[in-house]
């Protein structure tokens, strides 16, 4: 590869905390790599794990799921649901050899713009080390 590998990331962010945190990163002009595309959900607990499968199978290099800090969920406990689902999801991905280490679950509050920007930088760096996700080629569905 002549060009440096640029990982492509999908982020599923909850409306109340993480999406607001990403907004704050914007208003604060915190620069981070343009490798992420954000899908807004109302709650991290509303994320069907199938979307993560889909993203990985399509060749997405990394998936970030962002929710409110424990105890802070706008819907009482959606983030706990997300935490359990992601734990199960990761163990299945591991079993299947599907890149469980390409999935991140992070708590980012509405006041943590810097944490959002930092998270994206960290994921991009990590994925650059891991290299491209080859699932799209090998599964070819």
């Amino acid at each position: 590869m002549s060009e440096e590998f640029e990982p492509k990331i999908i982020a599923f962010l909850c409306n109340w905390c993480s999406y607001a945190g990403a907004d704050l990163a914007g208003t604060s002009r915190m620069q981070y790599p343009p490798n992420v595309r954000i899908i807004r959900l109302m709650c991290s607990g509303g994320l069907d794990p199938l979307y993560v499968f889909r993203a990985l199978l399509a060749g997405c290099d990394g998936v970030l799921i962002g929710g409110c800090h424990p105890g802070d969920c706008h819907y009482t406990n959606g983030n706990y649901k997300a935490r359990r689902r992601v734990a199960v999801l990761k163990s299945i991905l591991k079993e299947l050899g599907m890149g469980h280490d390409r999935v991140w679950l992070r708590w980012i509050s509405a006041s943590e713009g810097s944490r959002f920007a930092e998270t994206i930088r960290e994921i991009v760096t990590d994925l650059k080390e891991k290299g491209p996700n080859t699932l799209a080629q090998s599964w070819a569905i």
Binding site: K8, I10, N15, W16, C17, Y19, A20, A22, D23, L24, A25, G26, T27, S28, R29, M30, Q31, Y32, P33, P34, R37, I38, I39, R40, L41, M42, C43, G45, G46, L47, D48, P49, Y51, R54, A55, A58, G59, C60, G71, D72, C73, H74, Y75, T76, N77, G78, K81, R85, S109, A110, S111, E112, A117, A136
Partner: protein, 1013 residues
């Protein structure tokens, strides 16, 4: 007469906010503005501190809302002639000047403006550019109707031209239009006419007016703005080159006995820091120096902003008052001379450009209006209300807000505006009757139509367009399936943009709309309203966030940002095609309120709500009301202050609408806006009281920090300011009282536990508290030597006058640096303070009989519990985080919950009262309604797929789903569903979906991403 009418005089952000709040409470408003458009000073600002949010972007939706609200009558180009009568019946004569254009029929197309041959200086751009004699004042103006300037119009002056009339298709130009005198009868009046800037020409030594390269801060603000004279490019006026070195000179016309005002203008330090940051973003290679006397960063997150300006953007803060600015004729540069205050000689530096941070002053308009209305002004010409209640004036039924009550920033202005609205509305009996609903046209039935998508890409001035290739995104969108229309907009949130969107919907028969602009969290409802006004269901709309999530965070990578903007836009287009019209249910509203916290803020809020006729549950953890204010014994001018508190408590406890719960905590809050169910726990008797209410006000306060710095706790001579004040008032222990009375030398140390790594914020009130106590000490014993050791004296606004008085009375102020704090030692109880004296340039030793520590304010420890119970966020310091730091300072993103007082941030009593009034007023916008709309994006079951397994029932946090045992299917109660989507993620058979976030809607959005992969 019907008294449910209020007049708001002044259409800046204060007047607009007051009008919107009143209108939402069901009160009819007459909003009188002197200029041809509402918007005021905020409409001229580029960005706002401390978030650098775009000023027009956050103001514009409010302009549009005020213009569209049926309860608000906007009367522009008008002034109040006379006011007669008294509360609750004022008879006001309003003179509406002719604008020579028929406002009722003009479409705002702007053709007249393009054809007019006469160019005149553009006041909106501070005269830095030209506009036409017939003009719409600025692109987002409301009303978007042109005005002719009679003295410049060739036809009206010389009898020839009439070009605008010729080209006007609607035939609305009327050269014969006469001034109109309107008689309006109202129940109360809110004054919000603002202030004016200091005239920099009065300070001749700064070469303003003689060098084009010396600008005022407001002129510079226009230069930074995309809609300004240079389209947002920072260019030196003399040669149109980018400046390399720029100086900001603070306190021009502020803190100045000779010219302007001797008070502090409260906003300029932050404005300069903001301009420095924005300029550094515009120009890669610029050095900014800010010459100041103190950095006054007394507000929420202000200190962090100053630090960012220094560390991330290289702004240099120089502690000096500049004595002169001279022009270097060789290169038009500017030489400034200043005393560096370090004992050394005067210094000289040369700059390419100089910005004068001009102060705020009261205006001639304020003085005239005050005379007409017979209300009192203070010595500086600001409206002087009660020291505890800044929205009151000396006349019943007339309230004031914004910078006409003293220099203040936007959030404080907005708080006062909401507070004044609440006060004015509570005088109006029987509120809800007059509510006028927006009459949207019948929604078009789009069933059977194929998707016809309109895409609008916002340039946001240059906020988006300077990074993202907007025309490229438009072209890209035009090539996508189902897209019938795509175009760019300068500011998509402006009033004229709403008209353009609505027209495109009608002309091209669009049935779905995508706007690629900023964040749906602030602007979605605005565009939904536009869809409704064009007869389209508001849920057939999708937002792409290409500003916060793209242009602002990838400023250095324009190509990649453009690619990303295309993907984000395509995701929205894909999704909008799959959206369906929704019609939310309405729900009843419980009119009672819960107020948590019985300090001054909570008491004020409770009383205000009770005055509106609401039943209030007021919960206080301690056994007495009063909170922190119980330890505030006198005001700045030495008047006792406990009488105010006692009177307030008496009013609250004797009010039949208020139920007090002392010694109590909130044990549980369930429900949502309009329909909360809470449990109050009595800590003495362990009793639980269950209540139902429609809104919550959080007024839980904050606490004085515990500290062991400066021998506190080890030496009886080291006390907190609070203890000192108590002793000075003749309360507290005999021992301390004696110590205070006998003290010959008193040292007060500022910033104890504030502005440090652990708490990187200013506690705001301590400087003024020290000044107040120092003055009291001097009054009681004029021979006492008093030293105040400080980092910056933050005697913001009118407090500066007290600071001046303190210095005049011989109180000595010594500055110390954060890394070289004073050291307190004790030799057998004899206290000594060692400090480096910067003007003497050596260490000095002060022997002190008493040391008073200005201990900072820490967020309440129970905030975490409250925040989790009410689903409202905290900031990193533990204070509650409001919905928007500028324009929603008492709201939360969670509807029906409001904040005031120290729970939000440290503030003094008058600011707490203003915010408490604001919180009550905002709560009344909910509580005055009989019904509110429920969530539209709720879950829906596909019965044919449902196995009635009950997994959704188990995960639903609102018990909104039940199994219908007869039909064996899950059923959603749409009034209870809050739309989190937990059920849809749980369902094994994909039988339950969240509307607006359905599987197919998200999958198509993901497809746009997959193409990018």
């Amino acid at each position: 007469m019907d008294h449910k009418q209020v007049m708001v005089i002044g259409g800046g952000i204060a007047g607009i906010q007051a009008s919107l709040d009143l209108a939402e409470m069901g009160v009819e408003v007459f909003l009188i503005e002197q200029q041809p458009s509402i918007g005021g000073r905020m409409a001229q600002l580029d960005k706002t501190f401390p978030t650098n949010d775009c000023a027009m972007c956050i103001l514009s939706p409010k302009l549009v809302e005020a213009g569209a609200n049926k309860n608000i009558h906007i009367i522009t180009n008008a002034e109040v002639q006379s006011v007669e009568g008294q509360a609750p019946s004022f008879y006001v004569k309003v003179l509406k000047h002719a604008r020579y254009v028929d406002e009722t029929r003009c479409t705002g197309c702007g053709i007249c403006m393009s054809k007019c041959p006469v160019r005149i200086p553009d006041q909106y751009n501070m005269g830095l550019s030209k506009t036409k004699c017939i003009r719409i004042p600025f692109p987002q103006a409301v009303p978007a109707v042109p005005v002719i300037s009679k003295e410049h119009c060739i036809y009206m002056q010389k009898g020839k031209c009439r070009i605008c009339e010729k080209f006007c298709e609607e035939k609305v130009i009327d050269y014969e239009q006469k001034d109109e005198l309107l008689d309006i009868e109202v129940g109360s009046i809110i004054l919000a006419v603002g202030s004016q800037e200091f005239d920099a020409k009065l300070k001749g030594e700064y070469s303003y007016g003689t060098s084009p390269n010396v600008l005022t801060s407001l002129e510079f603000e226009r230069m930074l703005s995309a809609s300004g004279p240079t389209q947002g490019h920072v260019l030196r006026p003399s040669d149109q080159k980018e400046p390399r070195r720029v100086a900001f000179l603070q306190c021009i016309g502020s803190r100045d006995m000779q010219a302007g005002g001797s008070f502090c203008s409260a906003i300029c330090c932050m404005q300069a820091a903001k301009d420095a940051i924005i300029m550094a973003e515009h120009l890669s290679n610029v050095d900014v120096s800010i010459f100041n006397m103190d950095i006054r960063a007394q507000g929420k997150d202000f200190d962090k902003f100053i630090t960012r300006a220094q560390t991330d953007y290289g702004a240099r803060f120089v502690r000096a008052r500049v004595s002169s600015v001279e022009i270097n004729p060789a290169n038009d540069n500017l030489r400034i001379r200043y005393d560096p205050n370090d004992g050394g000689p005067l210094r000289e530096e040369e700059f390419d450009m100089v910005v004068l941070s001009i102060g705020l002053q009261t205006s001639e308009q304020v003085r005239k209006l005050a005379a007409k209305l017979d209300i009192e002004l203070d010595e500086s010409g600001f409206v002087s209300g009660s020291p505890f209640d800044p929205v009151l004036t000396s006349r019943d039924g007339i309230f004031a807000c914004g910078t006409m009550t003293g220099p203040r920033d936007i959030p404080e202005t907005v708080m006062q505006a909401s507070g004044a609205a609440g006060a004015a509305a509570s005088l109006q009996a029987e509120l809800p009757e007059r509510r006028i609903k927006a009459d949207y046209p019948q929604q078009r039935d789009i069933r059977g139509e194929s998707p016809r998508v309109g895409v609008f890409i916002c340039k946001c001035g240059i906020n988006i367009a300077s990074t993202v290739d907007v025309p490229g995104v438009v072209e890209f969108a035009l090539g996508l399936p189902w897209v019938e229309h795509a175009q760019e907009l300068m500011f998509s949130c402006a009033g004229d943009s709403q008209r353009i969107i609505a027209e495109a919907i009608r002309d091209k028969n669009l049935n779905r709309v995508v706007v690629s602009a900023c964040t749906p969290r602030t602007h979605e409802s605005l565009f939904q309203g536009t869809l409704q006004s064009a007869g389209i269901n508001p849920y057939l709309f999708e937002f792409a966030n290409i500003r916060e999530h793209c242009s602002w965070v990838h400023q250095k990578e324009p190509d990649k940002a453009t690619e990303k903007a295309k993907v984000l836009t395509k995701m929205a287009i894909n999704k909008v095609i799959c959206l369906e019209p929704l019609s939310p249910k309405t729900m009843p509203v419980n009119h009672d309120a819960l107020v948590v916290g019985g300090g001054v803020a909570g008491l004020t809020a409770a009383l205000e709500l009770a005055n509106h006729g609401c039943k209030v549950h007021l919960v206080e953890r301690q056994e007495k009301f009063g909170g922190n204010f119980r330890d505030v014994h006198f005001t700045m001018d030495g008047q006792p202050s406990q009488e105010f508190l006692n009177a307030l408590i008496e009013k609250v406890t004797s009010n039949p609408n208020i139920h007090s719960y002392l010694n109590s905590d909130i044990a549980e809050v369930k429900g949502f806006v309009g329909n909360f169910k809470s449990k109050i726990h009595g800590n003495n008797n362990d009793e639980i009281t269950e209540i139902e209410h429609g809104a919550v006000i959080v007024a839980t306060g904050a606490s004085e920090l515990e500290t062991d710095e400066y021998l506190r706790g080890r030496e009886p001579g080291v006390v907190t300011l609070r203890e000192l004040e108590t002793a000075l008032a003749g309360c507290g222990t005999e021992e301390l009282k004696e110590k205070v009375n006998k003290a010959q030398s008193v040292v007060l140390i500022q910033c104890v536990g504030s502005r440090c790594d652990e708490r990187p914020y200013c506690s705001r009130i301590c400087c003024n508290k020290s000044i107040k106590n120092a003055l009291k000490l001097k009054e009681q014993n004029p021979d006492t030597n008093i030293y105040v050791l400080y980092r910056d004296i933050r005697a913001y606004g009118l407090h500066e006058l007290d600071y001046r008085q303190a210095r005049e009375k011989g109180i000595i102020f010594i500055r110390y640096q954060e890394d070289d704090k004073p050291v307190v030692t004790s030799e057998n109880g004899a206290l000594k303070v060692h400090i480096f004296e910067p003007t003497l340039r050596r260490k000095v030793l002060i022997e002190a009989d008493l040391i008073g520590l200005a201990v900072g304010i820490a967020a309440g420890s129970e905030n975490k519990v409250i925040s989790q119970m009410l689903k409202i966020p905290l900031n990193s310091e533990g204070f509650f985080l409001e919905a928007h730091v500028k324009l929603r300072p008492v709201d939360f993103a969670t509807d029906g919950v409001f904040v005031c007082g120290l729970a939000h941030y440290p503030k003094d009593v008058s600011e707490s009262v203003a915010q408490a009034r604001a919180a009550a007023a905002r709560a009344m916008t909910v509580l005055s309604k009989d019904t509110i709309e429920a969530e539209g994006k709720v879950s829906q079951v596909r019965a044919e797929c449902c196995a009635a397994c009950g997994a959704c029932v188990a995960v639903c946090p609102y018990a909104a789903i039940e199994i219908d045992e007869i039909n064996r299917v899950a059923v959603v109660n749409e009034s209870l569903c809050k739309g989190c989507g937990a059920c849809s993620a749980t369902c094994r058979s994909c039988a339950i979906d969240l509307r607006g976030f359905r599987d197919e809607q998200l999958v198509v959005a993901m497809e746009a991403i997959v193409e990018w992969l």
